[in-house]
Symmetry: C2
């Protein structure tokens, strides 16, 4: 198979599973083709009902059959019950060879593995957090998986690269016409913005809810005008599963020190000022940096124009006391912050298209001053891996990582120098998720590296009291302490493509042998 070296030095095959691949050539090198996906017409007369008695009936009515693509959103995260339920029904009906197109899978979706083994699911395009990703690494899927960022996934739908045959979309409240939201009902889960494009462009759209309300549902996050059918089920899952340990602020003094350094870095870069904007991930240090930033802004009387979430109670606190004017929420990471959507003026639910699509007429990440992101690995070219661990296992999705890094004026990656005797700062990352050209600073527990591409920033920090170090020095220290990275023995088979947000391929993930 012929391969091309892309601009981050990774070998990309010309074609895989019949798809011609376009190698990554730079963060803003790929202009869009004209979009091809039209929205879907319908013809629902007054008095006609969209309510169906069961998922099985919806599968029949939508004409779902072998070889089709089925989509889902992950707002319920590890509390989701809908994906498993729908795939069980599809499997029971004897349908095979389904491509699933979830925004993300979580450990709870380990339940799908038997459906992969039996040939019901033959392809997954979407983030795979945990067991399904591990199984994919060992070659369980007949077809190569595709991982996309939030913005990249929406781009793929709009452009027509991925056509959704049937979208099964969980709603915590829905009316009989399919107007729905995620902010009310026993399993309220937040915005439904990850799924808007699936609703708009899906050939068939089924809303799955455990809280059927009278028409019209209020507020309306996904509109009736996109919805074919509504199915009421006993439960869409358990929204307690939304919350993970990473939504609590760290108490580790070393991590708190890093959080202090991050805020200092923002301040010394000149971005900590009236009207600023930021996003931070849900990791312990990131959250701690939000708290430090909040205190700093309050103390100095600085007001931000907006923050983007992955929203937690910490951002809601900032909205409530006026530290930020608007809170743009694409996903909710705790229940307190969901309750805020319906209550707090200035708390705006957004779609991933609004948030991060590189090929619409302008996305919100372009307005970010600062983003603080995590990493499983970083390298001396400032490339970041968030998908695989150093053992080669594909265990995480991309989320908004590529999107925010490309958009923000200051992209800060925070990671330790090493974890469990494995160096995190490396000569070369196992997998490139986010290209170094979009990363400005790497904050570790042993110092901060500034990307030499950002000479303006290097100069600004010349007199800084921050522990600024060369990335190569950090890498060497990491190798000295750990003895260097473990050797990675992969198979030849490519088990996943890492798409860049513009649809080009930034890296591939190769399989592992079962006994490795």
């Amino acid at each position: 198979m012929d391969a091309i070296i892309n601009s981050v030095g990774r070998k990309i095959p010309e074609e895989i599973d019949g798809r011609k691949l376009k190698p990554y050539q730079g963060a803003f090198s790929t202009a869009p083709e004209p979009w091809k996906a039209p929205m879907k017409a319908g013809f629902i007369k007054p008095g006609e009902s969209k309510i169906l008695a069961s998922l099985e009936e919806s599968i029949k009515k939508t004409g779902l059959t072998d070889g089709m693509t089925v989509s889902f959103h992950h707002h319920l995260r590890n509390g989701d019950g809908v994906i498993n339920m729908v795939m069980d029904a599809i499997a029971q009906m004897g349908i095979k060879n389904i491509r699933i197109f979830p925004t993300a899978l979580f450990p709870v979706h380990e339940h799908l593995i038997p459906h992969i083994e039996s040939g019901v699911i033959t392809s997954i395009e979407g983030s795979m957090n945990g067991p399904v990703g591990a199984a994919a690494t060992y070659g369980i899927l007949p077809k190569c998986a595709v991982l996309r960022s939030h913005g990249g996934r929406i781009r793929a739908i709009h452009s027509g690269d991925v056509k959704v045959d049937v979208a099964f979309l969980a709603a915590s409240s829905a009316d009989p016409y399919g107007n729905c939201n995620g902010v009310f009902g026993p399993n309220f889960f937040g915005p439904v913005g990850l799924a808007r494009a699936d609703a708009m462009f899906g050939e068939h759209v089924v809303i799955v809810t455990d809280n059927l309300v009278e028409y019209p549902c209020y507020p309306i996050s996904i509109s009736q005008k996109y919805v074919d059918y509504v199915v009421e089920v006993p439960s869409i899952g358990d929204h307690a599963g939304i919350v993970s340990g990473t939504t609590e602020v760290t108490k580790d003094p070393k991590q708190l020190a890093m959080a202090e350094q991050i805020v200092k870095l923002i301040e010394q870069s000149g971005l900590l000022k009236e009207g600023m904007s930021f996003q931070a991930g849900a990791g312990g240090v990131s959250l701690a940096s939000m708290k430090v930033l909040h205190d700093y802004m309050r103390e100095k009387g600085i007001h931000g124009n907006f923050a983007i979430g992955g929203t937690t109670k910490y951002l809601v606190d900032m909205l409530r006391d006026g530290t930020i004017r608007v809170l743009l929420t694409g996903q909710s990471f705790d229940l307190e912050s969901i309750e805020s959507i319906a209550k707090d003026y200035g708390h705006q639910e957004i779609t991933t298209d609004f948030y991060a699509n590189i090929h619409n007429k302008g996305c919100a990440v372009n307005w970010l001053d600062v983003v603080i992101l995590g990493a499983t690995e970083v390298d001396v070219d400032f490339n970041v891996n968030v998908n695989t661990h150093s053992d080669g296992k594909l265990l995480h999705g991309i989320g908004g990582h590529q999107d925010t890094a490309a958009g923000a004026k200051l992209t800060i990656i925070v990671c330790p120098l090493f974890r469990k005797k494995i160096p995190i700062v490396r000569e070369s990352v196992t997998t490139v998720t986010t290209p170094g050209e979009t990363v400005d600073a790497i904050v570790t527990n042993e110092g901060i590296a500034i990307n030499p591409r950002r000479q303006d920033l290097v100069k600004k920090l010349q007199e800084s009291d921050l522990p600024i170090r060369k990335i190569e020095d950090l890498q060497k220290q990491a190798y000295e302490i750990t003895g260097g990275p473990p050797e990675l023995v992969t198979t030849d088979r490519i088990i996943a493509l890492i798409e860049y947000r513009d649809g080009s391929i930034i890296d591939v993930v190769r399989g592992l042998k079962k006994d490795s």
Copy 2:
């Protein structure tokens, strides 16, 4: 020219201005073709500005040239300054042969007549209220005009029937990326829902505002992701012009009596009950009926699920005291009701697509129990004219008339028996706007006629104390008092098509001689 008789008995030519016409065949006879209009990709990099210095610059940048289609919304109604301003700029730049595609024109747009005379504007597809409509009747436009309902216009965009080259959209608040709303700023005008499809499918989209705010504008009614350019102008018009005399409740005792009868009719039809829904026009009797209905519901403790506006302060009062749960606003007819959008929980801004598009997967009019609408004429087949006067002048648009009549369980038309010695209840309307098959009752000052197609309703009202009369009797009485309708002498030329909401042609309007 060959012609076909459509199902309301009107002669429709096979073709006009190169467009093949489909004759109206019944309210739900025309299924949609698959939609063909894709949304537009873009490629805006971080730091790129959308702000242009002038309308002229936006005309140049969008490549606007001879023969193109330019669209506008009418939320500012008779206070709009944007259409005149943009067309002046287009005219000054020497561009000719423009098709304008406004949602509606008002008397203030008489200003456009010189641009029609000089060949800058050669075609108008949109409602023409007042002088431009009158001028069109006298043959000023080289091409045949097209009038569409709210739902029909949005259907035409989605289906690809009308392609918008450049949309110039007024916003009372907008940020530099084009996020905008109509609820803040010196000329706040309400929702921007009439224009959402223009933004989504317009090849180029220019937001025109007199209130540029910091990013992100909040709330967001039209998203940055659809917007190419933002132009700040000294003024988008004068929002005082939104309010017309028809937003005040009548004090005429005869009209108040009709309002009482309307509410009695709703009650006797069995629809006045918990969970009901309704819409009423902004005419004096309609508004009075809302007040009577409000009092009745409050007294009996009945709560409605929703009302749809054309919103006035009377509907806002109903929302505020809990008489209705949700208020869906497509347009605002007074300033008090606009202020409510940003303030009142349950007050939802809607798009015309959500409201009334027959060919999406379900529109809100399908859930209406009752709609109360006006007429310039009605006839013994229950057909309704809202476009022309009996003198043949095209003076009004369709609005949501066809849409709500087709959707609601009970469609009530309210009109006097005659106006200024001209019979309003006639053997045959001058122009069919809304087909009789979608009309259930006509309430006049001399009695109420029930459509015999609705035998269920006729039976329900057998014991009624309401003055139920045959439509033919009302018509005869009208002719006796007035001496019958004036003779209408038209030219052979068709100056406007009246489209039904499904894209078929329900009637045509012929021109008048200047001296007639």
